[in-house]
Amino acid sequence: MKLVVCLGNVPDTTTKVKFGDDGTAFDKTGVQWIINPWDELALTRAMELKEDAGNAVSSVTLITVGPKEAEPTMRKALAIGADDAIRVNAEPTDAYTVASQLAGVIKEKGFDLVMCGIESSDYNGAAVGSMVAEFLELPSVSAVSGMSIAGEEVEMTRDIDGGKEIVSVQTPFVAVVQKGITKEPRIPAMRGIMMARKKPLAVVEPTQVDALTDFTKFELPQPKAPCKMVDPENVAELVEFLQNEAKVL
């Protein structure tokens, strides 16, 4: 079974975000880039499935849509253990174009199981994985928090409002994963980092797809009022504030 993990390259979570060009574009100056945290969970679970010999996963491939600057993040993901990587040489403009590019490569190369994180920490669209599935006309299961493979069938735990479902789907399909899919994201080891340098990272040119959306303006939030401190000896005062001032109790 050939697995593919779609990987986003995003600013480090602790980045202080700034916008240039009159607030119309994200300012990338000085930004550290990381693997999108949800995709890192997907990659970690993909590696666990591959290592479990019983599952007969033959390979784990990464695909990223991004410029050359995304490659250090991709190398980090190769260091975590993926076998090879493909970069679609395009600026990720919106979820629709990214998903269309990913679907194009996935269709051409042929994979059995596509894994994507449910959301990305930059534009928080929660869209790419399920869009890829629709482009490929494949089934998709979203909010996946557990996954195991038995033959051609993949069994998953899916979070629903108010509980969980155990579902199974025949490959090929797209699994959109979230928290719970693995315990903790993997950190590359030295040996992995050395090996990653030699792993194949192919670059393919994008197909022509027009974005359906564009960001016209960004704004930083208004500074909020300072926190009102309550004496720890007088918790009753807090309850009074919540009842009569904030009116939330």
């Binding site: 600013p11 979570t13 980045t15 975000v17 945290p37 949800w38 979820a95 629709y96 998903a99 449910i118 920490s121 930059d122 534009y123 928080n124 669209g125 869209a127 399920s130 869009m131 599935a133 629709e134 998709s140 299961v141 979203s142 909010a143 629903i160 409002d161 108010g162 509980g163 969980k164 479902e165 155990i166 579902v167 399909f173 959109v176 979230q178 928290k179 719970g180 315990k183 359906l212 959306t213 564009d214 960001f215 016209t216 303006k217 960004f218 704004e219 939030p221 926190c227 009102k228 401190m229 720890p232 918790v235 009753a236 807090l238 309850v239 009074e240 919540l242 904030a246 939330v248 109790l249």
Partner: protein, 321 residues
């Protein structure tokens, strides 16, 4: 050029989120000078369907069947897309909950409709169609132009007031082409009697400052007293003190309750990304310099394990009055 809203049901019933969604759709329809139709999938009584009229739906398109109690993303996408075409919908609105996140992106591709997701307010304008959304996990907001004739929107939970309009909805049965079900459901495990984190208006949450899983009694007692859901920070779910479904934060649940009480949570940026949309945030922490106090509206510097019992007593006294 109607607005179509997908109203999911839970065992044949709607909940507050459904009415929020229809109320929101009703305002969007007003901006566009059109009406709203709701689409319902699965077995829901006409009395229940009729409730949607009270929030502004002028029509409910029902697609009944026994096979719709669990989501198959392709089947549901097919149904909603056909309902959208039938109703001539220019805007299709879903919740940004688990099912909405599974369906909206597929609909966007199928209808070649621009997607505006996780919205917390009405569109900025409809001509051109521009929505505002949070980006960088809540660190900024961005205006997004949706440049297609048809648009798909998802609305974040608990971000829009329920508005009763007192209207009536016509109910119409619809039998679309559905395609084959590919998602086989083997088991369903539902939590019963618990308030769901995403639905909760009040949330009591514990962090590492609670020291161990054994100390959750006071969190649960306060939650019971306030009719609240319980939540936790990431280290707590990573340690296995609480289940991962309770983890609020960047990679966990993103919630927007009216009141969020953070006990023994320092407020790492990843945690704040999940709770910063709370309308009122209370922080209890031993460290006066903890970042949680920068995000909080009310704070107490002190040991959460000592403060929570006092908090519980104070609420009981206030309730007794």
């Amino acid at each position: 050029m109607a607005v179509l809203v997908y109203t999911e049901n839970w065992d044949g019933k709607f909940k507050k989120l459904s009415f929020e969604l229809v109320s929101y759709a009703s305002k969007v329809a007003e901006m566009l000078g059109t009406t709203i139709s709701a689409v319902s999938i699965g077995n829901v009584d006409d009395d229940e369907l009729a409730k949607l009229g009270n929030y502004g739906a002028s029509k409910v398109v029902k697609v009944e069947g026994d096979g719709y109690s669990s989501l198959d993303s392709q089947v549901f996408t097919n149904i909603i897309a056909q309902a959208a075409e039938k109703e001539g919908a220019k805007v299709v609105i879903l919740s940004h909950n688990n099912n909405g996140k599974a369906l909206a992106p597929r609909l966007s591709v199928k209808l070649k409709a621009a997607l505006g997701s996780a919205l917390v307010e009405l569109p900025v304008s409809v001509e051109p169609f521009v929505v505002s959304k949070k980006v960088f996990s809540g660190k900024a907001a961005g205006n997004v132009a949706l440049n297609t004739e048809v648009k798909v929107l998802t609305l974040a939970q608990n971000s829009f007031e329920v508005v009763e309009s007192g209207g009536n909805a016509a109910i119409e049965a619809f039998t679309p082409e559905v395609g084959e079900v590919k998602t086989i459901v083997k088991d369903v495990q539902k939590q019963t009697g618990k308030i769901l984190l995403n639905d909760a208006e009040v949330v009591v949450s514990g962090g590492r400052g609670m020291k161990s899983a054994d100390n959750w009694g006071s969190i649960e007692e306060l939650a019971d007293l306030l009719g609240a859901a319980t939540a936790c920070s990431r280290p707590v779910s990573d340690e296995g003190w609480r289940p991962h479904e309770e983890h609020t934060g960047q990679t966990g649940k993103i919630i927007a309750p009216n009141l969020y009480i953070a006990a023994g949570i320092s407020g790492a940026i990843q945690h704040l990304a999940g709770v910063s949309s709370s309308k009122c945030l209370v922080a209890i922490n031993t460290d006066a310099d903890a970042p949680i106090f920068e995000a909080a509206d009310y704070g107490i510097v002190g040991d959460a394990m000592k403060i929570l019992p006092d908090f519980i007593n104070a609420v009981k006294e206030a309730k007794a009055k």
